[in-house]
Symmetry: C2
Subunit: 114 residues, 2 copies
């Protein structure tokens, strides 16, 4: 306990999908973008395996392009399957976060009371 790492499990997937949906982006840039959204930066050892898995699952497609400084960049964009997955993630996230907020606020069994 006492750190955020466990809380992230399974959540990062959806966040990556959501960022990629905004437009083609490559891994190194993704790390920076996540930080700008309020996540304390992720090591690349976290992001790249995730991207590879999502590629295997057909959620993202990739294109290699030359870089002005450094090796080739691997640009990711969302497939149709990826968009569907993102929608389902948003549903799950909404349910989860409202459940947690219910507990933390000692809320009621339904949202419409109190």
């Amino acid at each position: 306990m006492a750190d955020t790492t466990q809380m992230l499990k399974g959540i990062l997937d959806g966040c990556l999908l959501s960022i990629i949906k905004e437009g083609e982006i490559y891994g190194y840039e993704l790390a920076a973008k996540l930080e700008s959204y309020g996540f304390h930066s992720f090591s690349e050892g976290t992001i790249y395996p995730l991207l590879l898995r999502m590629q295997k699952e057909g959620l993202v497609s990739t294109t290699l392009r030359k870089s002005t400084a450094g090796p080739k960049r691997k640009y990711y964009s969302l497939t149709e399957k990826g968009e569907q997955e993102l929608e389902q993630f948003i549903i799950r996230w909404t349910q989860l976060s409202s459940s947690v907020n219910n507990v933390l606020n000692k809320g009621c069994f339904r949202n419409d009371c109190c």
Copy 2:
């Protein structure tokens, strides 16, 4: 992917602490309470190991009491350390959920814009 189980990791801890803070409660009852808060029910194989760990870490204290029907119940209540842990969990949860919402809503870098 495609299920909520990974998203829960590390979040359940805080939820248990929060429920226990409301008053003494035993494991079997906790499972039911979680469901009433909107979580689809947890198997006991999830909850008991977690409670044992939190007991070892000194976050909760336990009292055995006879039951009217069945074996003895193990009632949990929060220690001071547990309350501190809960507070820190709430901070972490708030940060995380706002970060995720930023990403999903394609929000800005700060909360005060848009």
